[in-house]
């Protein structure tokens, strides 16, 4: 993570602030920073999204390509994740610096999307054992302002919502070899159902309270944080303790409750913005980084 240097006094100041439910930037313990979500920002991808959460800036591109199904799951397509920590975020990510963090994020994403409930992988299959759609989800980290996992999960969900996969017909000619024929109308495509794609909520334990959406400074004063992936119905699909400190059991149960509550509100807000983006259709004036 981008390292920020904090003196002891600043840390004490932040911790005491949080005891009284007041954070440095005026938010309450369970409030998110202002979030901007914008879809279809990069043209030659099947779907893309950009999320700006405070000073954290994430760009996700999804490209659908034809591939062969995996041996153990012959009738399903699959997702491939790749996280690129660009040197833009911090000089430490130059060269191979960002690889360690990148692998950690990729593993968490695989863990969340491994069970079949998040994305209907069967709809990605064209014909079993031979052809299926592979969705390459590429996450580009442009700026680290703390709370990376939440921003990344929102961006991935938005990008998958925005993904358009061209319709495909399978022609069976005589000697049994299958012929794939792409439909020529660019707008004739299938959309993915992202309703039960979960979002990650990271709760950081600071002092004896926990906060949501911690900034870099707050992350520096938190010894341990709990990462929860919450679906819009409030069920948890992944739980992971991060950081080198430990948590007492009671605070874990409290954090799970808060995570569920915050997760639901986040899903509703995200669904609303995605529908608004969708309703504007293609006439929408793309803001991108010019905003």
């Amino acid at each position: 993570m981008a390292s920020v240097v904090l003196s002891e006094a600043e840390k004490v100041y932040i911790v005491h602030g949080i005891q009284e439910d007041l954070r440095v930037d005026g938010r309450g313990c369970e409030d998110y920073r202002c979030t901007e979500v914008e879809t279809d920002v990069v043209s030659n991808t099947s779907g893309s999204a950009r999320v700006k959460l405070g000073h954290t800036d994430i760009l996700v591109g999804v490209k659908a390509e034809m591939g062969t199904p995996k041996l153990e799951k012959p009738d399903e397509g699959y997702l491939e994740f790749f996280v690129d920590c660009s040197a833009n975020a911090t000089p430490e990510f130059e060269g191979r610096g960002g690889e360690e963090l990148g692998t950690e994020i990729v593993n968490t994403l695989y863990r969340i999307f491994s069970n079949g409930s998040s994305i209907d992988l069967k709809s990605l299959c064209i014909n079993p054992r031979e052809h299926c759609w592979v969705l390459y989800v590429d996450v580009l980290l442009l700026e680290c302002g703390g709370n990376l996992f939440d921003a990344i999960s929102i961006a991935v969900k938005a990008a998958l919502f925005n993904t358009r996969i061209p319709k495909v017909r399978v022609l069976e000619d005589d000697e049994g070899s299958k012929e794939i024929e792409l439909s020529d109308d660019p707008y004739d495509c299938i959309r993915l159902n992202v309703d039960n794609v979960p979002c990650i909520i990271t709760l950081s334990k600071i002092g004896c309270r926990h906060v949501v959406d911690a900034t870099l400074q707050e992350e520096a004063c938190s010894l341990a944080s709990l990462l929860l992936s919450v679906t819009n119905r409030g069920t948890l699909t992944c739980m992971k303790k991060l950081g080198k400190g430990s948590l007492d059991p009671e605070s874990i149960f409290e954090m799970m409750e808060t995570g569920k509550k915050v997760g639901k509100t986040l899903h509703i807000a995200l669904q609303k913005t995605l529908e608004k983006e969708e309703s504007l259709g293609t006439t929408r004036q793309k803001v991108g980084f010019l905003g």
Binding site: T235, K241, S246, P249, I252, E257
Partner: protein, 266 residues
């Protein structure tokens, strides 16, 4: 692939016979009570070359061996704990995982989870410019492999004479299939494969603090996860005496033959 020319070359790709086996004659797990805790065998101080070592075996067949390289000189400033968790190629039932980037990434994730479970317990402040290397090797995967590795690593660290706030006990759980599936303690490999949700809990028993938590799958609402965590913590408390006894036996053995042969490897 740079890796391959360093190993004796085999066929390009090969399939496990299991894929072609007649499925389904899996022996049905005998009706077992959810909170049943199967005995755990633990032994500390068994490797000669490592400063600290431990071996943990769960009755489901999971065998983990762990070695700790004592404080070694580190390049940069503050003390660091480096964990590595490797699976033996013959440890899992199905196909042999081919050594490649994908396998390395998954092993890295387990190594990281191990490191985050141990970090709260080790007093790194006492080793200002040193590096502690923990290497765990999974010989056979019979379910809740990460939990066994966490217990083995904590034992090995204590056996190496590294200062710790407390031991760390790991316990694995999985949810029985079906909508209202109950959580099972220390699942076998078959139960773990069929389970919709899995969870590994790491507890510091003396201080009653949760050191590590890693769970995924459809565990349902937070209340069900909370039940699972409580069950896991209770399991850890019950496993703690076995680990403690094995460490004491190793300490006594070391004390007994300590003074005689100082220095030369026991």
């Amino acid at each position: 692939m740079p890796l391959d020319h360093r190993r004796v070359p085999g066929p390009e790709e090969s399939q496990a016979p299991l894929l072609y086996a007649a499925p389904g004659e899996e022996e049905a797990a005998p009706g077992r009570e959810a909170a049943a805790l199967r005995p755990l065998l633990a032994r500390a101080g068994l490797l000669s070359q490592a400063e600290g070592s431990a071996y943990v075996e769960l009755s489901g067949g999971t065998k983990v061996l762990c070695a700790v390289r004592g404080p070694r000189e580190a390049a940069e400033g503050r003390g660091r704990l480096l964990c590595e968790f490797r699976r033996a190629p013959f440890s899992s039932r199905g196909a042999r995982p081919r050594p490649g980037p994908a396998a390395a990434a998954r092993e890295r994730e387990l190594g990281l989870a191990l490191q985050e479970a141990l970090a709260p317990a080790v007093r790194l402040a006492r080793y200002p410019r040193a590096r502690l290397e923990v290497t765990a090797l999974l010989l056979q995967d019979g379910g809740s492999a990460l939990a066994a590795a966490i217990s083995a690593a904590a034992l090995a660290l204590a056996d190496a004479g590294v200062e710790m706030f407390d031991l760390v006990v790991g316990c694995g759980l999985c949810r029985a299939p079906g909508p209202a599936g109950a959580w099972l303690l220390q699942p076998s490999e078959a139960e773990e494969r069929a389970a919709p949700a899995r969870l590994t809990v790491a507890l510091m028993p003396g201080l009653n603090q949760v050191a590590g938590l890693l769970g995924s799958g459809q565990g349902g609402p937070p209340e069900s996860w909370a039940r699972a965590v409580r069950l896991g913590l209770e399991g850890c408390q019950r496993l703690y005496p076995v680990l403690r006894r094995s460490l004491l036996r190793a300490a006594e053995r070391r004390a007994a033959e300590g003074p005689r042969s100082t220095g030369s490897s026991a």
